[in-house]
Symmetry: D2
Subunit: 362 residues, 4 copies
Amino acid sequence: MAKVGILGATGSVGQRFLLLLSEHPDFEVSVLGASSRSAGSKYGKTTWRVSAEVPLKYQDLIIKECKPENFKGCDIIFSGLDADAAGDIEKSFVDAGFCVVSNAKNYRRSPDVPLVVPTVNSEHLSIIEKRVKEARAKGLKRPGFQVCISNCSTAGLVVPLKPLQDKFGPIRYVSVTTLQAISGAGFSPGTPGMDILDNVIPYISGEEDKMEWEAKKILCPVNKEGDGFALLSDDQLTVSAQCTRVAVSDGHTECVSFKFKDRDSVPTLEQVKDCLRNYQCEATKLGCHSAPKHSIYVLEDPDRPQPRLDRNRDAGFGVSVGRLRKDPIFDYKMVVLSHNTIIGAAGSGILIGELLAAKNLL
Amino acid sequence: MAKVGILGATGSVGQRFLLLLSEHPDFEVSVLGASSRSAGSKYGKTTWRVSAEVPLKYQDLIIKECKPENFKGCDIIFSGLDADAAGDIEKSFVDAGFCVVSNAKNYRRSPDVPLVVPTVNSEHLSIIEKRVKEARAKGLKRPGFQVCISNCSTAGLVVPLKPLQDKFGPIRYVSVTTLQAISGAGFSPGTPGMDILDNVIPYISGEEDKMEWEAKKILCPVNKEGDGFALLSDDQLTVSAQCTRVAVSDGHTECVSFKFKDRDSVPTLEQVKDCLRNYQCEATKLGCHSAPKHSIYVLEDPDRPQPRLDRNRDAGFGVSVGRLRKDPIFDYKMVVLSHNTIIGAAGSGILIGELLAAKNLL
Amino acid sequence: MAKVGILGATGSVGQRFLLLLSEHPDFEVSVLGASSRSAGSKYGKTTWRVSAEVPLKYQDLIIKECKPENFKGCDIIFSGLDADAAGDIEKSFVDAGFCVVSNAKNYRRSPDVPLVVPTVNSEHLSIIEKRVKEARAKGLKRPGFQVCISNCSTAGLVVPLKPLQDKFGPIRYVSVTTLQAISGAGFSPGTPGMDILDNVIPYISGEEDKMEWEAKKILCPVNKEGDGFALLSDDQLTVSAQCTRVAVSDGHTECVSFKFKDRDSVPTLEQVKDCLRNYQCEATKLGCHSAPKHSIYVLEDPDRPQPRLDRNRDAGFGVSVGRLRKDPIFDYKMVVLSHNTIIGAAGSGILIGELLAAKNLL
Amino acid sequence: MAKVGILGATGSVGQRFLLLLSEHPDFEVSVLGASSRSAGSKYGKTTWRVSAEVPLKYQDLIIKECKPENFKGCDIIFSGLDADAAGDIEKSFVDAGFCVVSNAKNYRRSPDVPLVVPTVNSEHLSIIEKRVKEARAKGLKRPGFQVCISNCSTAGLVVPLKPLQDKFGPIRYVSVTTLQAISGAGFSPGTPGMDILDNVIPYISGEEDKMEWEAKKILCPVNKEGDGFALLSDDQLTVSAQCTRVAVSDGHTECVSFKFKDRDSVPTLEQVKDCLRNYQCEATKLGCHSAPKHSIYVLEDPDRPQPRLDRNRDAGFGVSVGRLRKDPIFDYKMVVLSHNTIIGAAGSGILIGELLAAKNLL
């Protein structure tokens, strides 16, 4: 059992990490960290909003401050910290030699930090592998490092784009409109009820920029040296995103149009569907505990995917793609549904952890 | 006072016609038509779902069958009939010499029927004007004719595109994703509660095709002869639509990206905003009773327009445009909000009626 | 035109006061007060959440601090202050000689302050009338005084109980479960979206106690001296309330069972309905501008009243009562629907103001 | 493995039976029955609305007509038929010697049919046990018989009342207002979206009568002869119900007030809570597969239970009780939350089946 520490354990992302880990066969939560305000009190006192109640086994854990010395013995750190706290704290953990898997946005654009959707670009972990091997070859301890979880709306977008790009060459243009669930906005207060009842909020601060940028890192290759990424330029991939918030609890719906770069090898509709249907990610091949049976479900009913019916496929790690059809401007259009708190946040973090363990990097 | 007949008066569109007409200064409802099942009973028995109760003045009207002989003396007919009934019935009324303004889709693509969003292309009524003048010049009675109301989601789309096209030349590409309200789907049953609570339905039968086609008729010029339309070809305007249903009662939100044809005269962002802000439609210039003060409201707050806050601008005849900004693939993107049962359905019908009256065509 | 000042003008209750007053024929808003944080800036900068935008006429008003010296010349003060601010500030205005109509809970239980639902117990204003007349008889200025608006859920409850009590004698027991709208909880944050989407919150802090107590003051007679109230004791009227929050924007639904005290004169179902149907409140008799045509609408359809369809009767001043039927434990049960921000808050405040003006007490 | 047949397998209740049985260790579905319209086609063609898709193992089953000869070899029949079909069909199955567990209302009031909430009154099955034993003693086959599942809102109500009655004597008065989920109303169309978005429907046809009557059967003792029930009279137990529909997908919330009959032995609040906390139903004692760990969860947080957080306790077989407190009219009031499609419908049916198996009655 790998020992796990959680940063930001009382927040909504932290609570989800904990819930997903509470029955995990290979990870065991041993330290819960939060702000100094909560430190010292029992975790069972936390206002718990993700399910009926704090799992019994965590009720009596005493919350610690998020300092490396409090997490000794942890093999992996999952961070659900807010962006304003994550910057310094996560750095201090990496500096202290920890492996940090973070949901915060702070280090996603760092050249030496992989930004990973685990069913998409687990090969990006190779830059960590290289570093770890080099250290171990020198007889040194595994160095501290960080892996970032992508933004939730980016995750849903890149899942179907990756196998298509791998098979049919670069995708040149992506136009996407999201209809995002409110669970990603947290609980206190998160999205106000008056904003979401009988309403749509056509704006999520910073979200469009994240989608337009992160896709270029996640879909890019590792550089030749194997120690960083050959980011896609605007001339290679252009993404245009419009992000909205709708009255859905869990599950981001994305209406996506895309166009391949190489005009001579544009696949047929059936080829696109087959490619998505047959895609198998590395985590599934490695037999990771949380890996979905299918990374992608291609649905044929015209009114699918729907959040209520499809968000929980393969415990939220399977992404649904429906309404694949020709686009009169781009090549194809489709509707993608992904579970924003699973493949789009804490769930991905845990699957990244499982990949790191499978690759002997913890 | 022009005398009004309503076809399909017991349905949801018919009820909205009636509600909007109940206080109208120039129109007076005199005949209510419905299916033979309802004919003969008092209108007050209708299950009324658009507001608290059937307006008192219509309670005792006896419902008639939808036959021309029952509507003698009516100056204008508003049709809220379903598509399966509208085909034959509306034709019989036109043949009998009536002016029919219809919300049904049946005749929208007929070459001699104007498809009108009244704050957009009222000039399309000139083909009717020509016919009526010719008949009157020969001493004949005004001939029967029909005008079609556009599909609700098309209406919201073309409102901002029209002034831009008029000022900056043709628009070549439009990519749009809609988040549509459920009121447009009717009441019995309309959208099932289980489909819309904590859910999105990423499909509305026939809707995308309507948007992609109707825009080309509404935005096209009258032909040289003045008796029909020079429909835009796919090479002139390409529209790609993805339509979804969300948990909103009234008000369609549309995320729109668009690109001008003439690359030498692409306006600046400020020019686009100014153009939209300054647009005044013919109905407003003519002083039509229901015409909005402003056809378009340009909003600067980043999180607007929102259905709950903005759908009722100018009693639902004013369309809101927000988040105007550069698009990395197209020229600009924006969020458009329109009231689907007002500017997108019955309300437009009434404003078309007012335009016809102002142009002396009733 | 009476000159109006508003305390707490930037909050959700204050915004509603302002919206309702923006077209008022007899009241003119002249001073807007808020906290020192907002004071000095233009009101147009306020984040406005009750409709599309701040009415034009108030855009340029400069917000003042809530101090009596800033409100000179105001004939009436409407207070939308939160309870933590209302205590001291409202007292300072009364001490300075102002007439204060308050939505806050602070002074509702004060023996010399009428707690008024204007379509129910306007006769309670007589204790103010007495004080004012006595002062004027002495040649003194009208003294400062306060009138409190009842809690929103209490308002809906007492509207039908009052005419029944007046006609058939005391009501001994009332058992009520409320299904309350979220608009009453304010905007920032108000009820969180995650709490209300696909959910019910079976608790509203302090609400049940308010209903159980306030009903006894509102339904009681003025004392013999005419300067206070003969509060109903627990032996005279017992109210048991259970309050819940549901996914409704506006409109409180209340399921009410009640039993008369005098067992010999229990009215028949038809007598109960007739009594409610025929009730006319003093404000209506006096012709107050906002007074409803009918204080109570008795609905016969089995599935009414419904918030969406019935909350706006008589602009929200008319209360709907449906499903009147025998109760196997109490005498009768019924469903009552009232608009929580109109008859349950700001709207009542303005109608109280109109009553005070009609009674020459400003 | 007991072989199972399902009547009404294509409807919403039938679909839930199937989903719950798809992983059941002791029951194996072997025949799926539906109307003659569906008979002959593969079950996989059914429009499936309770989760992502029809479980793989049922995809190729051919639907049969609901005739006893088609269900040969079935040890137990679960019926999800609508009331209009259930009457004749279920009778024909009982006559043919089958054990029928039905969710329909048709036979709930039959004197020889137990009406069972399995965590409440499994002792009512003794009248079946008697019949079966007598037949077997004569060397006869087990006779056909029927057990009815209670109405969903009744189920939630009686769960906490039963242990209280068992411990502290008869309950004399119960006043209950329900806030019911829409899943119980089915899918096509079920509750229309326009009825439930931003709305409450204060009426569910027949529901209040069911609650007021069924509670008297479920809470009554078996008669002295052991072959029927000593129904509680109106003088023994009076229930007054008000039933509403709210925008919740699953989970009925009920606000309940109750009063004990024996005024000398009214328990204290702590005694009430202890009694509920310590209650263990027979199904749990017998180790039935679906039996909840706790039939009742007593919650202390003031804002609980909530449908979103608490409906899935013990897979929906555990009922949550919160806000237990003194009632000024009755003895106590509380909020009860139960999962309407599990403990209130199909789930109860399956647990009844498990009880029948454990008691050797199949």
